[in-house]
Subunit: 163 residues, 2 copies
């Protein structure tokens, strides 16, 4: 063997049992992002499972707790969600059926539906606060404050690529 010109295989390539290197560092970063978030999401799902709450439902509840006691209109909730939610109506249907949110058509503008978190919803969130915090801690808590700031900056930059 003469000189080994190949870089050592990256962590992500190993994790996915890849036999060949990535086409480009951009590819590799995109794959690493998708992969990392899938793991993060899986952790979150596990943390929420005891209460039979999905990440999207959890997101809605967090948003409503944030505005509580003020209600929010259906589409305002959709605007604030981390992941796009075209099915916001049915998402709220399920939360209402579980009595975690209440809905009431608005008096001034009767097209609008006001949504708010119920006492039960607040209780469910309270029970989930700690397990969810632990997920963040276990994963993202591995980074120092300056690394976190650095990561945030890089992600901002990626999102800037205007759609």
């Amino acid at each position: 063997m003469l000189i080994d010109m190949s870089r050592k295989p990256s962590a992500i390539a190993q994790e996915l049992h890849q036999t060949k290197a990535f086409d480009s560092p951009e590819d590799e970063a995109a794959v690493a992002l998708l992969r990392t978030v899938d793991l993060l999401r899986a952790d979150l799902e596990r943390a929420l499972a005891p209460r039979s709450i999905t990440p999207q439902q959890y997101n809605v509840l967090r948003i409503l707790r944030g505005s509580h006691p003020e209600p929010l209109a259906t589409l305002q909730i959709a605007d604030r969600m981390i992941e796009r939610a075209p099915g916001i109506t049915r998402l709220l249907d399920r939360l209402e059926a579980a009595r975690l949110v209440g809905r009431k058509r608005c008096g001034e503008d009767r097209r609008i539906v006001h949504c708010s978190i119920t006492r039960e919803g607040l209780a469910v969130l309270a029970a989930l606060d700690e397990p969810v915090r632990e997920v963040g801690q276990k994963r993202v808590g591995r980074l120092s404050k300056s690394q976190l700031a650095n990561l945030l900056q890089l992600l901002d930059r990626i999102r800037e690529g205007l759609s």
Copy 2:
């Protein structure tokens, strides 16, 4: 007003129309990650839409192209996927129905099903290579080589938080 102790609202907080600051930088980073990947995934979906291919189907095809002309067993494909895919069988069912992959039960070990990409599958991938590269370029291509290396390292660290 005396002294303003508040930091300026972060990009991610603004994007989600948040009224109050994040509980912790860990929270903020996790939300930024989830959000960034949702946008990236949306871009990818748009790029794949003309061929009616989902990101997961695309991932399977890429994996099979990587091993081509060697076939892969069903569960080997699942192991290499970016996102967990408990529905790997039906995912392959759909790809087979679209004639993009072929399946054949293995002779030596009759439990195993060998999957391989078809000529048609290769053609579909070839047509998607450029649009997909553009997505990566538009988003992740905004970062310099050293920033990409930096990002990769931070993501590796997050994934290390062993499940």
